[in-house]
Symmetry: C2
Subunit: 147 residues, 2 copies
């Protein structure tokens, strides 16, 4: 469904939403171990979310690291996808047509439109902190270390 980049980003954000705050920052080593992702690659992805849009906050140096503000934790997954410029994965035409619309729909348009509404609805309503809360349940995981 999503690219590896997007998957790592979402997992990282959920972990940060659960475990970080301004006075408890998370380093890239802890983070990439926690979400089972390649360290340097994950660092690059996080950078995309720290710069202009500043969804993620970061501080260099000792006791530095990444964290989310309370405001950031309230952002929805859909907002994250928008910042990652990957929302079209879902909102685009399922057959890949660039000009698929009500006026000139693809053969799947009507059926997919219904599902799209639900997908976008779920992603738009689901905040990072809500997902972090899910992780209070000990069986809920965000890495592959339960194998």
């Amino acid at each position: 469904m999503f690219s590896k980049s997007t998957e790592y980003a979402l997992r990282a954000l959920i972990y940060l939403a659960q475990n970080s705050s301004e006075d408890h920052k998370i380093g890239i080593v802890e983070l990439s171990v926690a979400i089972d992702s390649p360290k340097s690659f994950t660092a690059k992805i996080l950078q995309k979310l720290t710069h202009g849009n500043k969804l993620i906050s970061s501080v260099t140096g000792p006791s530095g690291g990444f964290y989310l503000t309370d405001q950031a934790k309230k952002k929805s997954l859909l907002k994250v996808l928008t910042l990652l410029d990957t929302e079209h994965m879902i909102s685009g035409c399922i057959l890949g047509l660039s000009e698929c619309s009500e006026i000139n729909p693809c053969p799947m348009h009507a059926d997919y439109a219904k599902i799209k509404v639900q997908l976008l609805g779920m992603l738009g309503q689901k905040s990072l902190e809500a997902l972090a809360r899910e992780m209070n349940d000990p069986k809920v995981v965000i890495n592959n270390n339960n194998r």
Copy 2:
């Protein structure tokens, strides 16, 4: 959502479902123009669906080309995805966990499971010929040539 390969495959199959039969085969040139896809690349993709599984039938030489049997036209999109080995795009974990299940779910598992049911339901119930029928409506398109 899907890769370019999968998109081209689905568009090609829908076109073949609408326009081909054993005594009216479609050449790769006509096909790739009709669905607005790169010719040789599309040919490669079609080959994957002609060999073992033989969803697509093909004949070389004059008056040859690709076509679908009536039986093939009844196959669902889900079946096509399975043959393309790309069903995991939908049935896999939305956060990319390899071991995401009821026992150890990711934080999105429960919400995505509901949507997954609907997506798989739609794809499983939608046949190539049903989609071909959609194309009888002149406003329905399967290429980008309406720009």
